[in-house]
């Protein structure tokens, strides 16, 4: 696999984005979740509002950050409580998931048999974009994230950083109003991290809401708000999480 030059110069820092922090919010009210009746609560009476801009959720492994993100996306049904999206959407609404939501999984979940471009086109097409618009946006995001040369490659032939950028490009192609990212820079070197953070800063403007779950302190500087998720853990889980962090 040939290495592709990636330079900070090709990703100039965007002007300071204007954020409408007083705009519509994601509202979580008394959210409870557990995977089965036999297990403990993963999310236990969580209430929070996510305002426009970038909110970073940090916390120990296993504290439920990723689960919360899946609840916000409507990929898991809450055991009780409710999540309300801007525009009165419910997270499980197909229309919301198709057009308003961009989600980057920790495991990336790129379609293994489709090329990078096809992965993006599929997301655009499912979002209801016209064919021309899908192609145009695919080219735009591939270029912006330094993936143009890899458009015809399948994900298995990309490096970890390239795959990560491809997953982000796939989430951004539909121009979502809600962007949820689960560990978008884990294991990536500084240059890749900077490309991703610049892209996110550039993208999250106006009423857009972005929630990032991460351990990565390098992303803290783009966050408008940082939420320490450890504090929502029950005492026993908190201690376990602390022990895990100490290890």
């Amino acid at each position: 696999m040939s290495a592709v030059p990636l330079s900070i110069a090709s990703f100039p820092a965007p002007p300071e984005p204007s954020i409408e922090r007083s705009g519509e919010k994601i509202a979580c009210e008394h959210l409870f979740f557990r995977y089965s009746r036999k297990t403990d609560w993963v999310i236990n009476d969580f209430s929070q509002q996510f305002r426009p801009g970038i909110t970073m959720i940090k916390g120990a492994s296993g504290c439920g950050k990723s689960t919360l993100l899946r609840l916000l996306a409507g990929y898991l049904p809450p055991s009780s409580g409710r999540v309300e999206m801007p525009g009165g959407f419910h997270p499980e609404d197909r229309e919301f998931q198709r057009k308003q939501l961009g989600f980057v999984f920790q495991q990336l979940n790129l379609l293994p048999l489709a090329t990078v471009a096809r992965n993006l086109e599929m997301a655009g097409s499912l979002a209801g974009l016209s064919h021309e618009e899908t192609l145009e946006r695919t080219q735009h995001w591939l270029m912006l994230l330094g993936l143009k040369q890899f458009a015809d490659r399948r994900p298995a032939y990309l490096s970890g950083g390239q795959q990560q950028r491809a997953a982000i490009a796939r989430a951004l192609i539909k121009d979502p109003s809600i962007l949820l990212l689960d560990e978008p820079t884990s294991g990536l070197h500084d240059l890749n991290t900077q490309v991703i953070s610049n892209t996110l800063r550039h993208f999250v403007t106006g009423p857009r809401i972005c929630v990032i779950c991460t351990h990565d302190h390098r992303l803290e500087f783009i966050a408008h708000e940082i939420l320490d998720f450890n504090r929502f853990l029950p005492l026993e889980g908190h201690l376990v999480a602390l022990a895990g962090t100490a290890e």
Binding site: Y35, S66, T67, R70, F96, L111, A123
Partner: protein, 347 residues
């Protein structure tokens, strides 16, 4: 492969049944043929003489035609062995529409042009015969060809003995065939003569019933085996592809694709592939139908797909139904996956 094997067996049964039905139609369901050997030492009547009519009392139950089948054979230039039968005066009303003004000899043959006159020879004698298609009383008597001559035309043939052949056409709603056969036997017993050889449709009907029963058993067994095999094959595919299908459908759902559409897409894909494979196998068999079933010994006239097409039958529809059941089963993995939350599958 499964479809091919199942189709071959079911088509073979279909052809066997048609063959039997054709034989039965040709013979006639109400036809009974009595054959009694008359040797030149027969004490009741000598050849070339009128014989007492033993069946006169059966006339009220139907029509009959008395003929004498010779042991010797006639010849035509293109056919060396032709069965000869002779008719008496009593047969003339039945033969009225068949006789030609130029000759009293009739050659029954299906393949030769009707009304044409052909030369036949017997020993050193020559005769001209008119060609007729075998119908009515003559249909069950004719294999390839039959030469019908008036009694006394070939006296030396009759002199060495013959087979007294009586064709009955029983009226519907009178005696049953077994009763009719029993009546013939009783008449012969009363005359203290050995009972004649009787040929009726009963044997063929029984054979047809046996075949249909066997066919029903085979169909049931085949449906069971085919269903089981297809369930195993498609089930194995569904198990092998379970994780992949569930993963891809969950990913599509995460983009907002509706679950029903994903299931229908998967089901359609499986159904189209399975049906294409099955229909290709059936079409391939239909293309080689004559060669394959000809090799298995079925008569050529039965293998004409224009007259009856066993590949366009409910048996084939049954096979395709099983194929579609299999396709449906193989798409269940996606249905199962659709019941799980996306977040659990993509975690």
């Amino acid at each position: 492969m499964l479809v091919t094997v199942a189709t071959v067996i079911l088509v073979a049964f279909n052809l066997l049944e048609r063959n039997l039905r054709t034989r039965l139609e040709n013979f006639g369901i109400n036809t009974i043929i009595s054959r009694e050997m008359v040797m030149n030492s027969d004490p009741i009547a000598m050849p070339n003489q009128p014989r007492p009519d033993a069946f006169a009392s059966l006339d009220k139950f139907g029509e009959r035609l008395r003929l004498r089948q010779f042991y010797l054979r006639a010849r035509m230039p293109w056919q060396p062995e032709i069965m000869i039968m002779s008719y008496g005066d009593e047969a003339l009303p039945i033969l009225a529409g068949l006789l030609h003004t130029n000759t009293p000899v009739i050659c029954f043959n299906e393949n030769m042009p009707e009304n044409s006159l052909v030369e036949v020879s017997f020993e050193r004698q020559q005769a001209v015969a008119v060609v007729r298609s075998p119908k009515g009383f003559f249909r069950p008597l004719v294999g390839q060809s039959l030469l019908l001559v008036p009694q006394g035309m070939f006296p030396e043939a009759e002199r060495i003995g013959y087979v007294e052949t009586v064709v009955f056409r029983k009226k519907a709603g009178t005696l049953s065939i077994p009763q009719f056969v029993s009546a013939i036997h009783n008449l012969f017993l009363m005359d203290e003569r050995n009972p004649p050889q009787i040929q009726s449709a009963v044997g063929m009907v029984k054979e047809l019933e046996n075949l249909q029963a066997r066919q029903a058993q085979w169909r049931s067994a085949m449906a069971g085996m085919l269903g089981l095999a297809l369930a195993l094959v498609f089930g194995a595919i569904a198990v092998l592809e379970f994780r992949q299908n569930v993963y891809v459908s969950a990913l599509m759902r995460s983009f907002g694709a509706p679950g029903k559409a994903l299931y229908i897409r998967q089901w359609l894909e499986n159904a189209i592939l399975a049906n294409l494979a099955a229909i290709s196998a059936i079409l391939a068999l239909a293309c080689f139908h004559k060669e394959l079933f000809g090799m298995l010994g079925f008569p050529a006239d039965l293998l004409n797909l224009n007259s009856a097409n066993p590949y366009w039958s409910w048996e084939i529809a049954l096979i395709l139904l099983w194929v579609n059941v299999g396709a449906f089963l193989s798409s269940l993995s996606v249905a199962i996956g659709l019941r799980q939350p996306v977040g659990e599958i993509l975690s």
